[in-house]
Symmetry: C2
DNA sequence: ATAACAGTTGAACAATTGAACAACTGTTGT
DNA sequence: ACAACAGTTGTTCAATTGTTCAACTGTTAT
């Protein structure tokens, strides 16, 4: 079955109208990639914890019952997405939320859960 | 390496303080599951389109260059998460966003992308 | 009734992803 | 210089996930 052509165009006006506003693929990939990061309970727990206060890798491992390795891997992903930022202090690295967006995205998500 | 114990507890006060506020696992799973749904470019494109106007499955397939099947599978997931709602009209099924949260979560996500 | 078509659904396959393990950096203190 | 420890990183493996294909519903019109 051929993509996009296994059906007649039912409402051409609608499709055209929306198509004109449609952002390019990169936009959607970036947006999806951002949400993908929130889409894992371990990462969400880390973000939630860092929303309370700055913590080092070991603290997070103990708090969330994970290995340092697992925490570090996830922090790397979160760092890469500019959601957390590191602060080195001797041997330890303290992590905190990078900006206010994280908190806001969280709040909207929780709103939805509490209704559904 | 034993989980959560491959390091000394460095800041016990911090860990305890955060632990007391820590929601149960279900909370984080639900939250992650919600974001997981936004974490796919096809679903995000569908949601974006439905944010402009109500559309039927075929319209979405043509607009986004997908098979009806692929669209329907994704709509099922979105329906299940209460993000879209169907409206049957004869042979066609029109979908629209279920509530305002979707739009708000979107906006926050885009804010973040445009800064990073 | 039956043909036509919008939409749904299940199974199978490829691609992605999180966790675990082990090896490695980098900093501190002796 | 070296031991100790916080953190990082690469690899492997199992599990999850998106898409496709094919078969199936359900509604409309003849």
């Amino acid at each position: 079955m051929e993509i996009g052509t296994d059906c007649e165009i039912l409402h051409e006006e609608t499709v055209e109208r929306v198509k004109q506003k449609l952002p390019d693929d990169a936009f959607f990939f970036n947006l999806a990639d951002l949400y993908k990061i929130f889409g894992d309970s371990t990462r969400v727990r880390i973000l939630w914890a860092l929303d309370i206060e700055e913590m080092c890798v070991c603290d997070l491992a103990v708090l969330l019952n994970l290995t340092k390795s697992a925490v570090s891997h996830q922090l790397r992903i979160l760092r890469h997405a500019n959601l957390v930022k590191p602060r080195r202090a001797g041997k330890e690295v303290f992590y905190s939320l990078a900006d206010e967006h994280v908190k806001e995205i969280f709040e909207k998500g929780m709103d939805h859960i509490q209704e559904g």
